[in-house]
Amino acid sequence: MNNCQNQLSSENAANGGLWTDALRRLGRRKAAVVCFVVIAAYFSLAAVVHLAEIFDWKPAIIRYNQQVGTAYERPGLQHPFGTDMFGQSVLRKTLYGAKVSLTVALCASFISIIIGISLGAMAGYFRGFIDQAVTWVYSTLSSVPYILLILGFAVVLRNRSILGLRPSGAATACIAMGLTSWVGICRLVRGEVLKRAKSEYVLAAESYGCSSFRIILKHLMPNIFHIVIIDFCLRFVRFVHAEVVLSFLGLGEQSGCSWGMMISDARLELLRGVWWQMTAATAAILLISLALNVFGDALRDCLDPELRIQ
């Protein structure tokens, strides 16, 4: 009897929920595990820099604007990634840049995902007029080329006070990216909710009087949340890259240091043969993007092999 129960429970564990199952399959892929470690390392680095700023610690590693040598020293033992125009350590700048770049991308992802999920779920669940309105808004937004849209938002929002606050360059970039790129996730969520809104469990929840809000949040969301997670991984990469472009065009972070600023600073240095700042920033972006791309693909294969997000 006991044995039987054990067997049952181990079988249950083997075919546990979607998430347990997916995690088990992810764990078997070495590449995915390595990528996850890389992503975790990047985020903890950004978190450490944030904490250090809040609590006013001054570890050497985040004092990026300290002069440590002469200008344009080649990479060597003392300065592993060399120094920049002001004699600042490129290694420190790269590490510090993770904070701005990742925070901008993270905030932009949250803004766009929150807008996308709420509009998409409402459109898919309530249909009718709301659906038409949401579809109208996103088909309008998606008919404008992405880069123009984001530039338009960024240039209009720059140096402007919003509700009495004056957002910094990075915050403007976040808002511009977030407000312009929720269309993809909105479409996906709307489609999934539309498909599931007629299933029995939703009908059951409706019949014992759940509010629409509760049905969307407690019954529908858990069933489509894996799509959001997968989309998040791939979206995040796009935002890191978009931050570079915005910084280059002078629409991103103005003070401080981000990978985008490093690349746009390095543009003129490159012609003088100073390749290290450029290479360091590129490598930093390449590593996190590669990790997120591979991890996102693995996640998609494990969670939802049918799904295609481009």
Binding site: T140, S143, L151, V156, V244, L270, L271
Partner: protein, 310 residues
């Protein structure tokens, strides 16, 4: 009947784009007469400029309101004058050809090369080559676009001198456009190869392929006569959806190589807060997008009788 209905469905989108550009550049962007006049302009000058550009008119609710003028200028494709008082439409006409010289070869090159590689990869799927190529493609997708441009410009033209570094009007078009085109193709390959490979692999798993092999057809014949024809729909969709962007040019490539196309115009307009130019480019590209969408849908309906309007 289908065409007429589909045509009617574009009306809300066009209205949406008009509203969006109006809200962005006129309501939020607002009165930029101060920055047009320059820093040390007198009250009187600013007032005159305000009147000249019509910033003193009411926003809505009048025959001569800013909104009516906005719609009027969009449908007559006049778009008024930019902040340097040159008619915007002249600027656009001037920029169109250099942009097309850049983007048309880029689209052709990317599509042909990545389709060829994708077919080869689909044939050897699962092999070492396939896995390696997949990793390289993902890495290529993960490198920021700016890094492609900067390193390409540095190595190929500055250091090794294969191409002119910068645009100059005396050079023939083929010479100055070559390097940006190559860089654009290189940057686009990763994502495109992966897309086309998935498309072809999707088809290869279908039943008709097994049937064709069972009949005793060779791999080449199955691939080109059966698989590729069926894979044509997503391929054509992707190419057609890239069409409207052709006219827009490539913002970053044009900026770096000094090619006086539409992308350069946009970057310039962003730097000078010339909302008139951004507005015009946004509207025109949105219209192109809508038109090409319409063409795609009509082509589908013509090609596939199962498609009808719901």
């Amino acid at each position: 009947m289908y065409i007429i209905k589909r045509l009617l469905y574009t009306v809300p989108t066009v209205v949406g784009v008009l509203l969006l550009t109006f809200v962005l550049f006129t309501v939020i962007g607002g009165d930029i007469s101060g920055s047009i006049a320059g820093e040390h302009a007198s009250e009187q000058t600013i007032k005159e400029i305000r009147h000249e550009y019509g910033f003193d008119k009411p926003l809505f609710l009048s025959f001569d309101s800013q909104f009516v003028n906005h719609v009027k200028s969009a449908f007559t494709f006049s778009f008024g004058r930019g902040i340097d008082r040159e008619p915007v439409i002249d600027k656009l006409k001037r920029g169109l050809w250099p942009s097309l010289a850049l983007t048309v070869p880029m689209l052709l090159g990317v599509t042909i090369i990545s389709l060829t590689i994708a077919i080869i990869l689909a044939l050897v799927r699962g092999s070492v080559w396939d896995v390696t190529a997949n990793i390289i493609c993902t890495a290529g997708m993960s490198i920021p676009y700016l890094s492609f441009i900067l390193f390409g410009q540095y190595f190929l033209s500055y250091k090794w001198g294969f191409f002119p570094v910068y645009f100059s009007p005396e050079l023939p078009m083929a010479q100055y456009a070559a390097l940006p085109v190559i860089i654009g193709i290189a940057a686009g390959l990763g994502a495109n190869i992966r897309f086309y490979r998935t498309v072809i692999l999707d088809e290869i798993h279908c039943d008709y392929v097994r049937t064709a092999f069972a009949k005793g057809l060779g791999a080449g014949s199955v691939l080109f006569k059966h698989v590729l024809r069926n894979a044509m729909i997503p391929i054509i969709t992707r190419v057609l959806s890239a069409m409207p962007y052709l006219c827009l040019g490539s913002v970053l490539l044009e900026k770096f190589f000094g090619i006086p196309g539409l992308g350069y115009l946009v970057v310039d307009a962003v730097a000078h807060r010339d909302y008139f130019v951004i507005n015009a480019v946004t509207f025109i590209s949105a219209i192109l997008f809508v038109v090409f969408n319409l063409i795609t849908d009509i082509c589908y309906a013509a090609a596939d009788p199962r498609i009808s309007f719901e």
